[in-house]
């Protein structure tokens, strides 16, 4: 397709994998004025035919054919984890910038290789840990950098939600060899958040994995972590808790000068003494996402999903590697998950 010389050149983008996340990415990419959304790839004819019938994008059932045929600036990969390695690798070899869903790869060996290729070829890379695009968690990171609650003595990283609430069903999410299980899937969000906001986990001091409804994989993980800055705390994640309407992730930090409880909607700060610079009173202050939400041009199901794609597209447009959610950061999270799972086996 030729570009009108008076228009700014649009990026050509494609999606592989049209499950829940892939469809959501497709809508966000499709609505982005900087992008010419050219193709999709999935194995479901039901889904592909809907694209054929109602959109102008080209459809493929084989990602190799798509990546061979289309000239692309970037691809979004939203397939089950076990496919990330071959797909990301093939795209990188074709010099295509890659946004890959989380968790990054099935084993850290694969992740190391992919990270090296992306680096060597200077391709823009990003993993879909969307919590970093939630305004409250950004504010949490800033408050910690400003040392608002003093030396941190303990953290709690939690996530609860209703993913597996019955003893039935078997998708790739219930297969431990395909990146299934609560630790690899759900808990990776929390591990990544702790890693980038509080500190990099370097030691696991004990882990309990619990299967509640699933067979063969964990539905909950409780683990004691030590970080590279000496701070220690707890990871508590359970995806079989139907008292939550949807995934709810939070970080609690206990400091010598106060405490912060932060989730995707609120940030609650308790200070022993007022902090004038930050305009925070002594005692509790609650701030809401309404104050911190990252403005987006197209909203589908949370600013974070749009903001992460807008960020990636901007970076590809400007040929600049972003600092949020690099492959390297995704890889580190994969490594921590591996250590947690190994630690559980030892117990």
């Amino acid at each position: 397709m030729s570009t009108n010389k008076f228009e700014i050149k649009k990026l050509k983008g494609a999606i592989i994998g049209l499950g829940k996340m892939g469809l959501s990415h497709a809508a966000i990419v499709g609505a982005n004025p900087q992008v010419n959304f050219v193709s999709v790839c999935d194995t479901s004819t039901l889904v592909l035919d809907a694209f054929k019938k109602y959109t102008k994008v080209n459809t493929y059932s084989d990602y190799i054919k798509m990546l061979d045929k289309e000239v692309l600036d970037f691809v979004v990969i939203a397939t089950p984890t076990k496919f990330h390695y071959p797909m990301v690798k093939y795209a990188l070899e074709k010099n295509i910038n890659v946004f890959c869903e989380k968790p990054f790869s099935l084993t850290s060996d694969e992740g190391v290789e992919l990270t090296e290729i992306a680096k060597r070829k200077s391709l823009i890379n990003q993993v879909g840990y969307h919590n970093h695009f939630i305004g409250t968690f950004r504010e949490l990171k800033r408050l910690l950098q400003e040392n608002v609650i003093g030396d941190i003595v303990h953290f709690t990283g939690e996530a609860y939600g209703p993913v597996v609430t019955k003893e039935k069903g078997s998708t790739w999410r219930s297969n431990p060899n395909e990146g299934g299980g609560c630790t690899s899937d759900y808990a990776s969000h929390v591990v990544n958040l702790i890693q980038e906001v509080v500190g990099h986990p370097i030691k696991i001091n004990g882990t309990l994995l619990k299967s509640i409804y699933s067979k063969g994989v964990d539905d909950a993980v409780y683990s004691l972590l030590t970080l590279d800055n000496g701070i220690s705390g707890v990871l508590l994640v359970n995806w079989s808790d139907e008292t939550y309407r949807k995934m709810s992730t939070s970080i609690t930090l206990q400091g010598k000068k106060g405490k912060i409880i932060c989730d995707a909607t609120e940030i609650k700060i308790y200070l022993k003494d007022a902090n004038q610079k930050e305009g925070l009173e002594k005692g509790w202050t609650t701030k809401y996402i309404t104050e911190f939400a990252i403005p987006v041009d197209f909203y589908l199901r949370g600013e974070e999903y749009s903001a992460q794609i807008e960020y990636f597209v901007d970076n590809v447009m400007n040929k600049r590697q972003g600092t949020y959610n690099t492959f390297e950061q995704g890889l580190y999270t994969d490594k921590v998950i591996e250590i947690i799972l190994n630690n559980a086996k030892q117990n």
Binding site: I28, Y54, G169, R245, A293
Partner: protein, 292 residues
């Protein structure tokens, strides 16, 4: 449409500014009776339209309304479909084809799958119509003059460029239910433009409109410009920003905007319902938007 529409987020643990409040609400509204009581409190304040998602529990509320026809004589419901979490959770577990098999009534889809791809590909709109019928079943015998498509679907279709499907929803709702179609969206300016392109004129669009620009994609100024210059029947939601904006300022902002036909809000307590209703009347009177 009434000037004020009563919403249902508070009944189903939805609060956009506080996960903690939303869980407290789930406990408060555990019984259907608590929902009915709150609807009745809202009716006492003159709110006779309930705009609600097609959550399973709404079926019980509909049963109650049907069995008390005198009490709910002029009561209207604006259904908003689908209850997205039901399908979203199913897609994660069963995939898209599996979800359709689970929710499309009868064995229609089973025969489609046997029929093969070519046949299947022509029938997305029939599938949609069957799903609408399934969602509408619970409202039988109740006045539903406006039927909405929930924002997650409106915006998914909008982003994918499947505007013909939005048009098909609009046309089917009109034809089958003699109702007007409404669209909930987080992208009002973009949606309006696309609906105009498929010749849906003066559409009912419900979107976030609030003082702080929360969930107003493209920015508050753009929304204000569209309200001033374009033709649509706008419903303002998230006016209070999930409770994060002071009610008086929040309502004053929306009442002073042009072209807002209705204001949608939900609240749990009599005091909060009355307060918001009073503010709307007060600022409507001041701005000359006299309506009930």
């Amino acid at each position: 449409m009434d000037r004020i529409l009563f919403g249902d987020n508070q009944f189903f643990a939805v609060n956009h500014a506080s996960d903690e409040k939303s869980r407290a609400q789930a406990i408060k509204f555990k019984d259907d009776k608590a929902i009915i009581t709150t609807l009745d409190i809202a009716r006492e304040e003159g709110l006779n339209t309930f705009m609600c998602t097609t959550h399973d529990r709404i079926a019980n509320i509909c049963d109650f309304i049907r069995s008390n026809p005198e009490k709910y004589k002029d009561y209207k419901i604006f259904p908003c479909m689908p209850y997205a979490h039901k399908y979203a959770n199913a897609v994660t577990e069963l995939g898209i084809a599996g979800t359709l098999k689970e929710y499309v009534p009868g064995n229609f889809l089973g025969s489609l799958f046997k029929g093969g791809v070519a046949y299947l590909s022509k029938d997305y709109l029939s599938i949609m119509e069957l799903l609408i019928d399934a969602e509408m079943k619970m409202f039988k015998g109740i006045e539903t003059p406006v039927i909405f498509l929930q924002n997650v679907l409106t915006d998914l279709l909008l982003g994918l460029g499947m505007i013909d499907v939005l048009k098909a929803f609009h046309d089917y709702v009109e034809k089958k239910y003699n109702a007007e179609a409404g669209f909930i969206t987080m992208n009002m300016p973009m949606l309006l433009q696309k609906l105009e392109e498929v010749e849906i004129e003066n559409p009912i669009i419900c979107s976030s409109i609030n003082l702080v620009g929360f969930r107003m994609s493209g920015g508050k100024e753009l929304y204000e410009k569209v309200l001033k210059t374009k033709k649509l029947r706008a419903i303002a939601m998230q006016v209070l920003g999930g409770g994060a904006i002071r009610p008086k300022e929040a309502v004053e902002y929306v009442c002073n905007l042009p072209n807002i036909e209705s204001i949608l809000f939900g609240a749990s307590s009599k005091a909060n319902i009355a307060q918001t209703v009073n503010y709307i009347h007060e600022f409507d009177n001041n701005s000359g938007n006299k309506k009930i």
